[in-house]
C-alpha cells in the first residue's frame, strides 16, 4: 500500500492479493468530514503505523523478488531514479532531472547531490551503474532484466550524471528506471545479490526509512531516516505485521492491533459501515491498477473459433460479476488498461450481456442443444475446465458466477482451483489448460509487449493464450518506439479495438482498492495514484499518538 517504484509495476501475474495502492480519477474517501478541520493541525513527529499484510517478505532487493509483500517493504528503504507522482506522471526521485535526446535514444539523468546511504556513504552515479550491470548480469535471478537489456550503452561521466543509450527509442525506458538503486559498496562483492545479507537480513538504501528488524512470519519493522533527502518522515516507525488470514486481520484492525489494511469488498460494505468503525477509521476507495479476465487457450478446438469467444462474451453478465464479487466496488473491464487514464479507450466494440445472442452465435458455430441441456457439436459436448488459482476468494466467486452464466446458454464449465506454484508450472510450462481466470497488474506505462506480442508465446512467457495478430505486433512496436504521447495513444487505442474484436480474453472487471486507515493519521489525500504517494508526510498530532515508547 505504499508508493510503488515504477518498475515494480512491471506486468506481474497477480495472484490477486488484495490490491496495492493505485488510483484513478473518481477516487472517494469516506468519513472525510473531519479531514478538513484536521488539515489545520500542525504536523508532529512520532508514533508508529502498523500495516497488515497477507504475505511475508521473501527478500528486500526488488530486483530479485517478485511478490508484493517484498516490494512493499523495499519501497521504504530504497529509491529509484524516478517515480510516479500523485497524477501518475513520472517525477524525479534520486534523479533531480533528466533529458531525453531528440532522437529518443539517449536519456541523461542528473542525480541529486548530498544523498547518503543509510550507512553514511554518499550516493553517486557509480551506484546506478552498478545497479544496471547487476540487473543484466545472468547470475542475478531477476524477472526484470528485459527492459534493461534494451540499453546499448550506459555511462556515468561524473558522480552525479548517468547517461543511458538505447538501440532504438524505448518509451518504457524512463519508467524502468524506477527500479530500486542498489549500493555498490555493499553489494559489489556478491556474485548473486539474492544471497547477500542486504536481501536476506538487513537492507541498506537511501530511502525514507531504515531497516530495524525482520522476524520472519511475524513482522517487519522500519524507523524514520532523519537524513532522508526529502526530509525526515513524521511517522517514526513503520511496522508491517504478517497476518495471512484476512478475517483475522480485520479483527486485529478493529481491536487496534493493526492501523491500516486493504479491505475486501465484503469487509468494506458490511463490516466497515458501523458507527463504531467509523469513529476510529477512515475508508478510502479508488480504482485499482489491476483487472481480472477470462483467458482462452486460442489453440483449443472450441475457442479457436472467434464466434464462440464472442458468444461467451455475450453470455457473461459483467454487471452481476461486479455486484456479486465486488459488491459494486469496481467496474466492468473492456480492455487491459485502467479506466480514466490517458491511454484507456472507452469506445471499443462491445459484446453486452445477451444470452439469446450468445445462443444464436453458438448455433452458427455448429453448437446445438443436446438432450441434457448441454450444447453439442458432432457428438462432442461443450464442456471445458477453467483453471484459477487457489486461495483467492474473488476468483473463486468469479468462477462460480461464470459457471452459472455459461450453463444458462448450455455450456458446461468445470472449475478447477490449482495452487499457485503448480498453476504457473502447469500452464506456463505445459499449456495444459482450456481457459483460465486470472488477473494482471496494469503498469502506468502502457507498453504491454510481453502479454500481446506474438514473439512472447514461448514456454514460460506471458502470452500464454497464444495471441498472434500482425497488426497488434506492429502497433506494439510503434507504441514503444516513440516518446510522443499522441502517437502512442493512437497505437494503443487501436490495439484495444483489436483486442475487443478478437477477444483473446473476456475482460471481466477492474476492482477498487479499499484501504482503511486509523483516523489518527492526518495528511492522507487520495489522488489518481492512490493514497500512499505522500506517506512520508502523514503524521499523528501529539495528543493522539499511540505508540510513544519508541525513540523519536
Amino acid at each position: 500500500m505504499r508508493r510503488l517504484p515504477a518498475a515494480v509495476l512491471v506486468a506481474m501475474l497477480t495472484f490477486g492479493t488484495i490490491g496495492l495502492a493505485a488510483g484513478c480519477s473518481g477516487e472517494k474517501k469516506e468519513g472525510a468530514a473531519k479531514e478538513t478541520a484536521a488539515m489545520r493541525v500542525a504536523p508532529a513527529y512520532g508514533d508508529a503505523i502498523v500495516f497488515g499484510s497477507n504475505g511475508d517478505v521473501s527478500g528486500f532487493l526488488t530486483a530479485v523478488t517478485s511478490d508484493a509483500a517484498s516490494h512493499d517493504a523495499a519501497s521504504y528503504v530504497f529509491n529509484g531514479l524516478v517515480r510516479y507522482d500523485k497524477n501518475v506522471k513520472l517525477e524525479g526521485e534520486l534523479a533531480e532531472s533528466w533529458e531525453v535526446a531528440s532522437d529518443g535514444k539517449k536519456i541523461t539523468f542528473r542525480l541529486r547531490k548530498g544523498v547518503k546511504w543509510h550507512d553514511g556513504t554518499p550516493f553517486t552515479s557509480d551506484d546506478v551503474m552498478f545497479t544496471y550491470r547487476k540487473i543484466i548480469d545472468p547470475k542475478t535471478p531477476t524477472a526484470y532484466a528485459e527492459d534493461f537489456k534494451q540499453v546499448r550503452r550506459a555511462s556515468n561521466p561524473d558522480p552525479h550524471t548517468f547517461v543511458v543509450e538505447y538501440e532504438k527509442p524505448f518509451a518504457p525506458a524512463l519508467a524502468s528506471w524506477g527500479m530500486s538503486i542498489l549500493p555498490k559498496h555493499l553489494l559489489e562483492k556478491y556474485e548473486d545479490i539474492s544471497k547477500s545479507p542486504l536481501n536476506k537480513e538487513h537492507p541498506i538504501g537511501t530511502g525514507p526509512y531504515k531497516f530495524v528488524e525482520w522476524k520472519p512470519g511475524a513482522r517487519v519493522v522500519f524507523e524514520a531516516n532523519p537524513d532522508y533527502f526529502e526530509g525526515k518522515p513524521y511517522i517514526q516507525r513503520v511496522i508491517t505485521r504478517i497476518i495471512p488470514d484476512q478475517a483475522t486481520m480485520f479483527l486485529e484492525l478493529k481491536s487496534g492491533g493493526v492501523d491500516s489494511m486493504n479491505l475486501t469488498p465484503v469487509q468494506y460494505t458490511r463490516q466497515a459501515e458501523t458507527e463504531e468503525f467509523r469513529k476510529s477509521y477512515n475508508k478510502y476507495r479508488y480504482t485499482a491498477f489491476n483487472y481480472t479476465y477470462l483467458g482462452f487457450r486460442l489453440s483449443h478446438p472450441f475457442f479457436a473459433d472467434r464466434k464462440v469467444r464472442r458468444a461467451i462474451a455475450h453470455a457473461i453478465n459483467k454487471k452481476e460479476l461486479v455486484e456479486g464479487v465486488l459488491f459494486g466496488l469496481g467496474r466492468e473491464a473492456i480492455g487491459p488498461y485502467k479506466p480514466g487514464t490517458w491511454v484507456y479507450n472507452p469506445d471499443v466494440p462491445a459484446f453486452p450481456y445477451d444470452p439469446a445472442r450468445a445462443r444464436a452465435l453458438l448455433a452458427e458455430a455448429g453448437w446445438k442443444q443436446g438432450a441434457d441441456g448441454t450444447l453439442e457439436n458432432g457428438g462432442k459436448k461443450f464442456r471445458f475446465t477453467v483453471l484459477t488459482n487457489a486461495g483467492n476468494e474473488s476468483r473463486a466467486k468469479t468462477a462460480a458466477i461464470l459457471q452459472q452464466h455459461l450453463s444458462a446458454v448450455g455450456i458446461a464449465m468445470e472449475i478447477r482451483t490449482v495452487e499457485w506454484a503448480a498453476f504457473i508450472n502447469e500452464f506456463i510450462d505445459k499449456r495444459k489448460f482450456d481457459a483460465v481466470i486470472l488477473g494482471w497488474n496494469v503498469t502506468p506505462d502502457p507498453d504491454q509487449y510481453d502479454i500481446w506480442s506474438s514473439r512472447k508465446t514461448g514456454p514460460k512467457e506471458l502470452n500464454f493464450v497464444g495471441f498472434s495478430n500482425t497488426e497488434v505486433d506492429r502497433l506494439l512496436e510503434e507504441g514503444r518506439r516513440t516518446f510522443d504521447l499522441e502517437k502512442r495513444r493512437k497505437a494503443y487505442f487501436r490495439i484495444q479495438e483489436i483486442l475487443a474484436e478478437e477477444l483473446p480474453y473476456v475482460f471481466l472487471y477492474v476492482p477498487d482498492s479499499l484501504p482503511a486507515v486509523h483516523n489518527r493519521f492526518h495528511g492522507i489525500e487520495p489522488a489518481p495514484i492512490g493514497i500512499s504517494y505522500n506517506f512520508i508526510r502523514w503524521f499523528v498530532p501529539n495528543e493522539r499518538q499511540k505508540y510513544t515508547s519508541f525513540q523519536k
Binding site: A143, A218, I243, S255, G257, I428
Partner: protein
C-alpha cells in the same frame, strides 16, 4: 527395566528406516517427482532453479541411489532449500518455528493433566452421579466438536466481543518495551486461547481414560480389602486407586503427540501464531515439497519420541515388565 528400555530404543532404528521409506514414497507421489512444481512466480528463474534442484536431488540417478541420498539427508536433517520465494533452508525455517509449537503443546499437555485427572477421578468415584453424567456429556461433546469451529467461536467471544484476549500472534507490538513481568503476561494472554483449545480435545480423551482406569482399579479386590480394613474412602481413593490409575499418564501423553501436532496446524493458522503448524499449512498451500517433507519427517520423529516415552511409561506402570 533397563533391558526393556534398551530393547525399545533399538526398535526405534527399524522404525526410522521405515519412516524414511514411506516418506520417500510419499515424496515421489507428486506428478513430476519432487520438483514437479519447482517454480517461482518468476518464469525467468525457473529454468535455473530446476537445473539446480535436479542436481541437488540427483533425479537423474536410479531410484535406489535417490533413496540413499534421501536417507542420508534425513539423518542429518538436511531437507534442502524451501520452494518458497525466500529459498531458505527448510531446516532453518523449522528450527525457528518449532519452539513455539512445542511450548504450546507442552502447555496444553499440562492443562490436560491438571483438568482431566480430577474430572476423571471424581467421575469414577461418583459414578452415575450428576457430575458424572454432565461430564460424560461434555466429554462426548468435546470428542465431537470440530475444534476449529470452537476456536472461531471463542476467538469471536473473547477476542472481539469481550475484548479480553488478543486474537492473533504471539506477542503484542509493544512487547519489547514491557517489563519482564509484562512480557510474561503478554505472552500468556496470547497463548491462552490456543493452549486451551489444543488441550480441549485431549481433555476429553484423557478424562475418559482416567475415569475408566479408576473404575478398573476401584473394582479390584484389594480396594475392597483396604476398605474392609476400615480406611476412609478418601484415603483409599487417594493412596491406592489414584496412584495406580495415574501411572499410565506418561503413556497417554506420549501417545497424544500426533494429535496435538495435527491440531497445531489448525490453531496456529487460525490464531496467526508463527509455529511449525502454520508453516506446514503454508507449505501445503504453496506445494512447497521440501518443506512439507521436512515437517512430516520432524513430526514423525516427535511422534516416535512420544511413542517411546509412552512405552517406557507403560513399562513403568506395569510391574510385569518392570522386573522382567
Amino acid at each position: 527395566m533397563l533391558r526393556y528400555v534398551v530393547r525399545r530404543l533399538l526398535l526405534t532404528i527399524p522404525l526410522l528406516v521405515g519412516i524414511s521409506l514411506i516418506s520417500f514414497f510419499v515424496m515421489n507421489m507428486a506428478p513430476g517427482g519432487p520438483i514437479g512444481a519447482a517454480a517461482d512466480m518468476n518464469p525467468k528463474a525457473t529454468a535455473e532453479v530446476r537445473e539446480r534442484l535436479k542436481a541437488y536431488y540427483g533425479l537423474d540417478q536410479p531410484l535406489h541411489v535417490q533413496y540413499g541420498r534421501w536417507l542420508r539427508r534425513m539423518a542429518t536433517l538436511d531437507f534442502g532449500p524451501s520452494f518458497s520465494p525466500d529459498g531458505r533452508q527448510v531446516a532453518d525455517k523449522i528450527r525457528e518455528r518449532i519452539p513455539v509449537t512445542l511450548a504450546i503443546n507442552l502447555l496444553s499437555m499440562g492443562i490436560i493433566l491438571l483438568v482431566a485427572i480430577p474430572i476423571g477421578i471424581y467421575s469414577a468415584v461418583r459414578k452415575d452421579s450428576w457430575f458424572d453424567r454432565i461430564s460424560t456429556v461434555t466429554v462426548f461433546t468435546g470428542f465431537a466438536i470440530p475444534t476449529f469451529w470452537l476456536a472461531l467461536l471463542l476467538m469471536m467471544l473473547f477476542g472481539v466481543k469481550l475484548g479480553w484476549l488478543p486474537i492473533s500472534g504471539l506477542v503484542s507490538l509493544e512487547h519489547d518495551s514491557l517489563s519482564l513481568a509484562g512480557k510474561a503476561w503478554d505472552r500468556a494472554q496470547h497463548l491462552l486461547l490456543p493452549v486451551l483449545l489444543a488441550g480441549f480435545g485431549g481433555l476429553a480423551g484423557f478424562s475418559r481414560y482416567m475415569r475408566s482406569n479408576m473404575l478398573e482399579v476401584i473394582r479390584q479386590d484389594y480396594i475392597a480389602t483396604a476398605k474392609a480394613k476400615g480406611l476412609t474412602e478418601r484415603l483409599v481413593v487417594f493412596r491406592h486407586a489414584v496412584r495406580n490409575a495415574l501411572l499410565p499418564v506418561i503413556t497417554i501423553l506420549g501417545l497424544s503427540v500426533p494429535d496435538l501436532l495435527g491440531g497445531s496446524v489448525i490453531f496456529e493458522t487460525i490464531f496467526a501464531i508463527p509455529g511449525m503448524g502454520q508453516l506446514f499449512y503454508q507449505g501445503v498451500m504453496s506445494r512447497d515439497y521440501p518443506l512439507i517433507m521436512g515437517i512430516l519427517v520432524i513430526g514423525s520423529f516427535l511422534t516416535l519420541i512420544g511413542n517411546l516415552l509412552a512405552d517406557v511409561g507403560y513399562a513403568l506402570a506395569d510391574p510385569r515388565i518392570r522386573t522382567g
